[in-house]
Amino acid sequence: MTFEGRVWKYGDSVNTDVIIPGKYIFTTPDPLELAKHAMEDLDPSFAGSVKKGDIIVAGVNFGCGSSREAAVTCIKAAGVSAIVAKSFSRIYFRNAINQGLPVIQCEEAVDKISSGEEITIDFEKGKLYCRAGEFNFPALPEAILGIFKDGGLVSHIKKTLR
């Protein structure tokens, strides 16, 4: 699995309220509708100009705050192919795996990547290629890689219950 995309760069502790405000999340589960509000309170330019394949790169504790799965589905539906961060908040990490959105913890690379540059991620090999060079990141633990490979938790459960 390889992803190539343009970078949207953000700072530390990007929280779920700025990714998708609470006022939207109880009335529609439709990811495409939610995608119109993705990152609304952090970067109002994001939802209108994000392109399919784009990659979010951020600092520590990405996705801290609420357990809202919409904070993953809205970003995925907006077209983002992967998120690279120094670290992820634990529920956000779970939600991303469960929705099949690649989350890559690569602390060394983050500060060397600039907004707007094109980067490439080889998910299987654990390699990230950017203007500053090549970086390694750890593979997902075997126990949860299966969920990701099946395309997310619902497909995974369907498969195991079959």
Partner: protein, 419 residues
Amino acid sequence: MGETFAQKIIALKAGKVSVKPTEIVDVSPDVVMSHDNTGDIASIFESIGVKRVLQPSKIVIPLDHCAPAATESYALNHKQIREFVSKQQIQHFYDINTGICHQVLPEKGHVLPGTLILGSDSHTTTYGAFGAFATGVGRSEIAAIWATGKLWLMVPRTFKINVNGKFSEGVYAKDLILHIIGDLGADGALYRAVEFCGQAIRDMSIEGRMTLCNMSVEMGAKIGYVEVDEKTIQWLAPRTNEKYDVIKSDPDADFERIIDYDVADLEPKIACPHAVDNVRLVREVAGLNIDQAFIGTCTNGKLEDLSIAASILKGKRIARKVRLLILPASREIYINAVRLGIIEELANAGAVILNPGCGPCIGVHQGALAPGEICLSTANRNFKGRMGCNEAEIYLASPATVAASALEGKIADPRRYLQ
């Protein structure tokens, strides 16, 4: 080497003899909580293709996030949840007249020591105050548990936070947890189990312990935890007939960090916009004008909190330009606050009394802010846009600080009202 509480309980719920930190195992939770997001979870569950939930008796569903419904679409969501609950014969359903999930579950006897509780809400960590292992997960994961009875968890490493000393007048559990979060940072306990112990915790009320565990997630923790003692047992006694096992860390367990605090010198604290770890002393920001003061939420809407607020506001009037919102966390608290005259004192002081629920805290309904406004709140989050307006500012503090500030119309140190 002994084992931590987290290791012991995860091993127990995974059917293993022992587990090690960072190991990933499948566990069977004892209680599964979801709230207004149950509608979406029900759709996900149905998409799995399973007809019946596996263990309906383990499921607890309070409606609280938009209670009562603010608009037709919220009403439709509630309607779909009621239909699902009835179809699946889920007994532990609490409609909009009961309260906030994190208050309702303990009150109704669903939180027992030594149990594993998973909820589709990040503040599920609250239940650690009763010696349970409780944490938040996503909506799909709740659907998965309904279908299979299981979910994967990683065994966390553990931080032990030793708190000693006696709180000064006007300083509370809320000030302590804000202080700790400010100290460790928003990711300071990322993926860790956090155990609160020491004399100051043993002296603390159950309500105060709930506040600590509730906000543990604001420093990234997987769980907050307080050891069961006589206070816990007394609190639970009228609420459950179930037997429970008390699980504690061994004294020689492998704690990743042991951090010591003394509350003797602790002063009232405040989290400034737009991050919970942006913590300062109340006296450093005192004098800043506020538009709204809000006392409530799953963090500080308990009887003890309302009582402290009333003791400051009794016989006085709030500042003319300030709106004070009071939100008891549950119907039980509401009724007790009425019975004790607290509600009358607060209303006489000029407060608006809201129904128990989450609305204002998450900007879903009631108490929304306008651009440029400042709210001082007892909630757990002050993220930009949290209360519905991304051009407003939210400060977080204790009920005493919020009450004193409502009187003055600006951020105020509560200590001079409590001498």
